[in-house]
Subunit: 308 residues, 4 copies
């Protein structure tokens, strides 16, 4: 199985976790959505992302998701989110995932870390608990974790933890952070891969600042594929045209809570999963929201036709 | 002077606070930007909004801003943000503002209120301290205040505080809240005016849910004027076309901190203020960000030309 | 095995989780400290409390702790903390614990619940996920969870979730909450058991307000036994005398982080566990802190001699 | 007037802000409580502390408090809390206070600073705004400000801001921080004065770690005077005896919100202020709480008699 590295690029789609209408884990839909992501241009997948429904799974269900998706993804690299309140649970899931063929694991800092020093110590301990042969993605998502990692702190972590090879960048605002990281590398610090989250809201600018791609779960992975490829080829104008067409939906999906329901609604309408339901607790879309999303989907089709 | 009421509609622009290059309050620019907002379609203005630079002003500077802008706005209603850690300071500024001709005052709950009961008590005390003859806008902005007001809590406040006539809606996600408020009114609760913030990110949907307009400081007030007017006239398709054209900029401006610098950059480029500087502490845009914004401004002009 | 009920009273000691010097789970010490707690007057035990080291355990280690301590506690009721980010993990551990002979489970609300309505919905969902035959302790500890449960919210939860039979009271300040709960019961609401946490810092006053006992992990359980028994018998003066003697230590142990290290130091010095080490991440006491604690232990012995 | 310096020692009492029964500022009581503090051993006073009722004052009332207390304190150094959301308001009040004869000003970081770098920048900007001739106390109180200042961050601030001459230490837990600060000074960093807050809860240990005294508003300043003097003279056993006698009250007063009401109740019973009321919003003590406090006061008198 391939491992992720500091040279990894492209689009890693954060996979939805499909459930049946009555809330059971739906492994056939997980296989189907895996195929869908690959067909729409994913270069890799990420499982058990923290903003999805991973925390709603039992430990055994988490392992089923990991096994099933990795088997289905075939040769595509698969990253597994292993964030946990304690290091024992974190390294247990990491070991299981790597044994199952994962390409690396992703760790977000736990809520409650307050100072730069505490954040640095956390990642040092986490990487030590994992063993240094497992490639790690650091997820920098302060809106959710309430942990704020400064540019200098991130630099120290990169310098002291060689197995951290990738940043899932979703600080907000975060464009200057990408620029600062790349500037430090120009001055000799080792390179890391930077894939961008935040639902893709700033993807063209992030690519312009030096990001390597996207890692988010937007229901139209082809947007990310096209924007990343066009930006990499230097055609920023066309990249922004494509991006702008999808932006009304990207924006709608960025709403916490509702956004996940909207994403599953889109995936369901596109035939990628069998049911749009969220496992409890977690509400679906209201009738008004369904109408809004359906209208945006129809507008998107028209706009893409104009652009092609 | 007109007062705001539960029937107020349209676009209230949150005014920027202009400073000279060396950080002094720039009252001539304040007059100029007031003219600019009116020319671009503002139905009213809001001064000393919490996300702007109001907290950087001394008490005397705040009073100068209030006096100057109200005098310049002529017959347009002007709302003054009076949020303060304590009720004495809050009611002092409110009394001054109303004497100066304000149309109402805006209050956000202070950080630290935790339960529904504490929030309800706060607004009861605040309104009592003001006296019930001053019309009040309740600013519901949890991302900034960290105070989360449920639909039921908002209902109780509306029922117990008759002088609260308007909601500055910027919960996120918040569309269901607008729907729930209007549903309660359909069942007999008194009406309040709902103007939407969040930089306008969800303005078409908010209008569709029953909002009365916008209250935010986006550097192109004409977008809000057009979207609100088109939505009010029932032409949602055209409203969304206009909105989508501006959305790449709306999105960029929504970034905390950077967004304000971008807004001032746009206002400066459009000739509305003499200098784009933020008073300390507060950084300007990096060269990369200036290039990004300028590119978005140029793209906007082209897209508007296509649409006209 | 006995189950806890709304009539449960006395002292439930939150058990330490002993590790060997190199950080492995120390089950023989867990048996020894269980004996120690019983010998010093515990009426019950609580395992896997959230402020201890439970989150540092792997899933399998958690199950070992539950099995070992319940077996050793013999006929004493044992409560298991099952708080988890998601309901599937929570109900899995609860089912395992009840099968192993637990007397009930304890649930703290997860960080991120903001409004009264969200808190009420969480407990409704959690109790539904457990099934209504498992007795539940609601842990009300806002300093740690950042979830603030008002008296009215607690009332609604008690009325809608009959299987919640006990409150682990550690709001701060919280004396008025105990009084309000008992007043509501005097007006006809069903009784719940109230055991007090916060390290015992307000135990005499809490007993005076109507609490049924203590649930905390203070290294001298005999203090809690004596204060609870004396207060229950009406001898508040003697209860307070005993309490005051221990208060310098109670206060020292109340320090977050350091407090747990101090507690293990005391348990180790008293022969109840084999090693005072905390599992990583988690520092021990500095030399200065050891000297301070040892001085307080010596002073305590002298003061108790004066009082006897 | 004397200025505070890095050599300041002793007890600075945080002054209560007295109001009449109907909530008006009570300047005669402010003079009386100033006399009381001096009589009970204060070496200095601190006005407008953030946990008191300072934020409830209007700007003009704040100035009245500053003028009145400084005049009454005669030759005693008086520190004025000038924390404010923005630097203009902060430096306005600082300039007024120094003109009125203050010995220095106290600044707590505003809620919302997240990283070490942001905290350091804030104090650099604040000190620059004040001018470097005003001696500054840095208030380190994370439980209230939600700003966590690491030992290294504090070191950088001390090194870059020479006018910060004193630390109001109320991190919790914080004993190791005192030790680390003194260790850095032993290695050559400039000395700062360390006065301890947290209601005095750890005063004996803090003195043992190298603190210079206390700065808190406990209703029995003579406790702080005696403990600080005895510890400074090396008689730690007697210092701890005195401390332990007051500890049940110190502990009760440490409750947020209720603690302030209790403090005013004690000051009123001791004849130092005319009314125990808190200005709105802010509740008084319940009947149960009054009974508890009165019982603790009576027990204190007996215990002090035993000790003398």
């Amino acid at each position: 199985m391939p491992l992720i590295s500091s040279e990894s690029r492209g689009v890693f789609v954060i996979s939805a976790t499909p459930f049946t209408d009555n809330g059971n884990l739906d492994l056939p839909s997980l296989e189907r959505v895996t195929d869908f992501y690959i067909e729409k241009g994913a270069d890799g997948l990420t499982l058990l992302g923290m903003m999805g429904e991973a925390p709603k799974l039992s430990a055994e269900e988490s392992r089923q998701v990991v096994r099933t998706a990795i088997a289905r993804a075939n040769e595509l690299p698969v990253i597994v989110g292993v964030s946990a309140p304690g290091l024992a649970a974190l390294s247990d899931l990491a070991a299981f995932s790597m044994d199952a063929g994962a390409a690396g694991v992703m760790i977000a800092p736990p809520t409650g870390l307050e100072t730069n020093e505490q954040i640095i110590a956390y990642f040092k301990n986490a990487v030590e608990a994992l063993g240094t042969d497992i490639p790690v993605v650091l997820q920098d998502f302060p809106l959710s974790t309430r942990v704020h990692i400064s540019v200098a702190t991130l630099g120290t972590i990169i310098e002291t933890c060689p197995s951290i090879v990738m940043l899932k960048h979703e600080d907000w605002p975060g464009l200057e952070k990408v620029t600062a990281l790349r500037a430090a590398e120009a001055n000799g610090r080792r390179r890391i891969s930077i894939l961008c989250g935040n639902g893709g809201m700033f993807l063209p600018e992030e690519m312009g600042r030096g990001a390597d791609g996207a890692m988010t779960g937007f229901g139209y992975p082809e947007m990310m594929r096209d924007v990343v490829a066009l930006a990499a080829s230097g055609d920023m104008a066309r990249a922004q045209d494509i991006f702008d067409a999808y932006l009304p939906m990207v924006r709608y999906e960025q709403q916490p809570g509702i956004g996940l329901a909207m994403r599953k609604h889109v995936l369901h309408k596109r035939g990628a999963i069998g049911s749009p339901v969220l496992r409890k607790p977690g509400a679906g879309l209201s009738a008004e929201a369904v109408a809004e999303v359906d209208r945006l989907m129809a507008r998107l089709d028209r706009r893409l036709a104009e652009l092609s």
